[in-house]
Point group: C2
Chain length 324, copies 2
């Protein structure tokens, strides 16, 4: 494909001899084929990064002349050294039925949201919605987000920046997590998902309420914790050591103990055995929300620790974001 | 304890402000307590490394002034920058019954082996064996191994160097893996384990035969593999990129395909989805042997790939070691 040609040109212009390739889990089946193609066409040695790849917050450090990161858009505020972002583009949008189904659930003024793999659809979706009588807005990108309307699991800027101009949001994409962040940050706006995998639309209201009950339960369980373990990620785009130090100090002013835990991959089995009463996650915000049931101890967001310590009211609950 | 005092002195002399702590899984329950003690006594901030810690081949990179590595001895050939090896010493050896039981299974000339945590017992064990009429030898350390008689899961130098002077080995310690490597490298010498946890002795012969059958099965399953995935570790003491490149070239001269996979933690779920027919592990040698049943595809050692490709005979089977 054309993107491979663009990569081969980059390899030639850098005179690269070894090339690293980093794939998200969903694209692993293409790794060997692409590595073999690049090796035979460019005369280089390819090295596949087999550490999990979750996003552009986490470009692999590899002993290579050029790292090829596949499946995520660069985060503008991060400095990438010798990294090529291999753009897979968007699949063809053949059928608008799931968009129309979503539009029927939406108010007049709609904010348009998506993830990087469907961003190529936004102009056509906008046109479709406008034909159906909607006013459509798309939030501009900024230092952490590359494309208009793009959501990250840790950054809802393109949604919140147009909050005053829209009465609801259409998220085009699969999965609940990205739009869930918007639903939690903007509880009074309806969020509808147009899901191309299921070919159907759904409203996020019930899930938001379910997650809020879950978060309330985690806060309640952590209420009397004496020792907090504050998790910090090593990944460049997730590392919030300063926040972790602030939270540790905050816990200590309230007579609690806190220790900082630094790690690359945050996973429940790596945190077993430590004598803490509750975890506080400053790494990727998805972890505390999506993986909560996998942890034996309650796992909180930074804002939830503030609630536990009496520094924030439950009515001021906000979803965690990583902002540059 | 005295070791903490020695650490506090090191912190003072370096004027360290932040101190990293790295614990193996079995000592995690002591992490928060030690972190809190160091913070209150030295006025520093401690950061616990929560990535898995398997050995001195893998000292955590942390943004701290001093890293404290707990539970493993340094590997002399590796350069450690601002690392303090916190020596836990050996527990008291109160009862010799399991040593006597092992001695009864051993020939006259005995090589003595152990892991770092029981190394303090060796002089007393030697004396005990000599009183029972044995001649006892202990292999001297070298560039990868810190102490006489010490085994690593990847290095059996202290056993093989005294091979000609002994008729069998006594391994003092828990677990089968360390002495298993010796049993595979030296198939004609009996290896007896004196296990302080079980308080009993056992011979390794049956396990050796079982593992050899398992290895033979893995080699057979990989016989017709067209694509090999060659695993390379990022950990400083396990990284064998040059070997991996050689194995890739060897596979290619035999008309097979091979791609190199670089990773930090080698774990089956991170390798799912890639289109390879068999894995070849150049990281910690334990992985291919101990975890073989967790992998869907056959996972080979470098020497086993040579057998698959017809470059080595099964009768010349050797256990994989990492030698500097």
């Amino acid at each position: 494909m054309a993107e491979t040609d663009r990569l081969l040109e980059e390899i030639r212009s850098r005179n690269a001899k070894t090339v690293g390739l980093q794939f998200p889990a969903g694209l692993r089946m293409r790794a060997v084929e692409l590595a073999q193609e690049i090796e035979s066409r460019a005369g280089v040695t390819c090295i596949v990064s087999a550490d999990p790849s979750f996003g552009a917050c986490d470009v692999a450090e590899m002993p290579v002349d050029l790292t090829v990161h596949i499946g995520h858009a660069p985060m503008p505020h991060l400095r990438y050294d010798r990294v090529f972002f291999y753009d897979l583009g968007s699949p063809p949008l053949k059928d608008f039925a799931f968009i129309d189904a979503a539009a029927a659930l939406l108010p007049k003024r709609v904010g348009l949201l998506t993830t990087v793999q469907f961003r190529g659809w936004l102009p056509a979706v906008k046109e479709r919605l406008e034909k159906a009588g909607h006013e459509v807005r798309t939030g501009e990108p900024d230092r952490r987000v590359a494309y208009a309307g793009q959501l990250l699991g840790c950054d809802y800027h393109t949604a919140t920046m147009i909050e005053k101009d829209v009465d609801g949001y259409l998220y085009v994409g699969t999965g609940d997590f990205h739009p869930l962040g918007v639903a939690m940050l903007l509880p009074h706006k309806p969020i509808v998902i147009a899901d191309p995998e299921r070919g159907a639309a759904r409203d996020l209201g019930d899930l938001r309420d379910h997650i809020l009950r879950q978060r309330h339960a985690a806060i309640t369980r952590a209420h009397d914790a004496q020792v907090f373990g504050i998790i910090v990620s090593k990944k460049p785009g997730q590392a919030r050591m300063e926040l972790a130090r602030d939270l540790k100090a905050l816990a200590e002013t309230h007579g609690r103990k806190a220790s900082i835990f630094l790690m690359d991959l945050v996973s429940p089995e790596f945190l077993e055995g430590y004598r803490v009463d509750a975890w506080v996650n400053t790494a990727c915000p998805r972890i505390a929300i999506e993986d909560v049931l996998q942890y034996k101890k309650p796992i909180l967001t930074p804002q939830e620790l503030e609630i536990v310590l009496g520094e924030r009211d439950w009515k001021d609950y906000v979803f965690d974001e990583i902002r540059a």
